[in-house]
């Protein structure tokens, strides 16, 4: 059973999901912060852009990313000049595509979490002379930790299961861009059903566990203070 698993693909996928989630924390928190506290009228436009990957066909996103990071577009040319190699069909290319694709899975829970923080606490912190950044890290973030964790877990899980975008931007190269879901696809095509079903089962169980954790976090059954613990 264990031998049927493609460990190379699993390690690669975990690495991709971990890097993507890390980038999404760094990128998603400022975006979520802006969405939560901004009073601009055109805020809804930014919210729509963030939510786009939820409804956009993966092929559309994959197509645009492939063109954008390719040798004929400005971003792709700049990258090639700086790093000496092209982005399509590389791990870095996948990271870019995954970050875009999983953006709403991080930002939306972040926004919900930030939104639930009591504004009076934030204002109290400001009144006491703590800077905005300081307030964010010492008041807002601890108060919204569960929501942020939810966003990290969801974007991690979503990146694990990504297929269409990876196939278009990654090109199915073993050890470089062949993720678990592509490996399953390959195994089905090669009539290697035993291997495909083992890997699928692993993903199914993993997804279930992830969602259970997310719902458990949101129920806050673990969030009771120490003084209430029996």
């Amino acid at each position: 059973m264990i031998s049927a698993l493609n460990w190379l693909a699993i390690a690669l996928t975990l690495r991709l999901a971990a890097v993507t989630s890390a980038i999404l924390v760094a990128l998603g928190l400022p975006i979520a912060y802006w969405i939560t506290y901004s009073r601009r009228r055109w805020k809804f436009l930014v919210e729509s852009v963030v939510a786009l990957p939820l409804v956009l066909p993966p092929t559309v996103l994959g197509f645009y990313v492939l063109i954008a990071i390719g040798p004929n577009a400005f971003p792709g040319r700049m990258y090639e000049r700086l790093m000496g190699h092209q982005l399509p069909f590389t791990f870095e290319g996948l990271v870019i595509a995954s970050t875009l694709y999983s953006l709403p899975f991080a930002v939306q829970p972040f926004v919900a979490a930030l939104d639930s923080v009591d504004r009076r606490l934030i204002e109290a912190s400001w009144t006491l002379g703590v800077s905005r950044i300081g307030t964010f890290f010492r008041v807002v973030l601890p108060q919204s930790a569960y929501g942020v964790l939810t966003g990290v877990i969801l974007s991690f899980a979503h990146t694990l299961g990504e297929f269409g975008v990876v196939l278009m931007v990654g090109g199915n190269i073993e050890g470089v861009t062949r993720t678990i879901s592509i490996d399953i696809y390959d195994n089905v095509q090669s009539l290697n059903y035993a291997s495909a079903s083992t890997t699928s089962l692993v993903l199914l169980v993993f997804s279930f566990v992830v969602l259970s954790i997310v719902y458990a976090l949101n129920r806050r059954i673990w969030a009771v203070g120490p003084e209430f613990r029996r």
Binding site: R15, A18, V19, A22, L66, G70, P71, Q86, P88, F89, T90, F91, E92, G171, N172, I173, E174, G175, V176, R178, D186, V188, Q189, S190, L191
Partner: protein, 262 residues
């Protein structure tokens, strides 16, 4: 977690802790080579100590990926026109283009099918019991184009057209019919010769005059030199043309070029 371990983790995540293994060659192979190629890499790796990484897909797809900078070292196409175009565009290592096999196509039905292939031949496709016919996508798979040509040759393309389902590659077309999702398929003989396909169905070889020759060609790509893999790619090229390589190709139903020919 110690700070050092954390650092290693971060480096691993950033991809810096996984140096590219020397002599690891990336092979893009047409889907019809799926089973034959997998049988080749074992002995090749054992004898030479090199590592090969295989990707399978339709030749047309690989062609456009390579044009867009995909990092393959050697490309085994199902149709020599793609490597030829790459060579003309200066994307190949000069003088490394070679024909390695000629492909054949077959009609394939699952065991439980009531079709009598030997008697019905190509007319099986218009049998009323056939609702879905699997072929590779003719837009970018040479075997899909051969299938369409054969149907046109037997003047049944217009009647069968509405029943066609196209797989992303010849391999997917084979999977469609092997799984029973399609009732019959036009697939490469090399796939029909694979043990998994032999167990689950039977085939009839379509006469060679019904479709243009499927000349399969391969090319070492310029990437190989850049990646420092030129020698290994060349070693694999020679191995495929060696007696061992030819024996495997032959077992999978390929017609082989003259020994020593280019």
């Amino acid at each position: 977690m110690t700070r050092k371990r954390l650092l290693i983790l971060i480096l691993w995540l950033a991809g810096l802790a996984v140096p590219a293994v020397a002599g690891e060659v990336f092979v893009a192979a047409a889907a019809d080579l799926n089973f034959a190629m997998k049988e080749m890499i074992g002995p090749f790796e054992k004898q030479t100590g090199h590592r090969l990484r295989l990707s399978f897909g339709s030749s047309g797809n690989f062609y456009s990926q390579i044009v867009n900078g995909a990092p393959y070292d050697i490309f085994f196409s199902a149709d020599v026109s793609y490597p030829r175009k790459l060579e003309t565009a200066g994307m190949g290592e000069p003088g490394t283009l070679f024909l390695y096999a000629r492909g054949q196509i077959v009609l394939w039905v699952p065991n439980r099918s009531t079709i009598d292939l030997a008697h019905q031949g190509m007319q099986a496709l218009s049998d009323p019991s056939i609702r879905k016919v699997a072929v590779a996508n003719p837009a970018h798979a040479p075997y899909g184009r051969a299938a369409v040509a054969a149907m046109e040759h037997f003047k049944i393309y217009e009647t069968v057209r509405g029943k066609l389902v196209s797989g992303e590659s010849a391999l997917q077309a084979a999977q469609f019919v092997q799984s029973g999702a399609a009732n019959i398929g036009i697939i490469p003989l090399s796939l029909a010769s694979a043990p998994a396909m032999r167990q689950s169905g039977r085939y009839w070889t379509i006469p060679a005059e019904a479709y243009p020759k499927i000349e399969q060609g391969a090319l070492i790509l310029r990437q190989a030199r850049k990646n420092g893999n030129l020698a290994t790619a060349q070693a694999f090229r020679e191995w495929v043309r060696s007696r061992q390589g030819r024996a495997i190709l032959e077992r999978y139903g390929f017609v082989l070029p003259e020994e020593g020919s280019r």
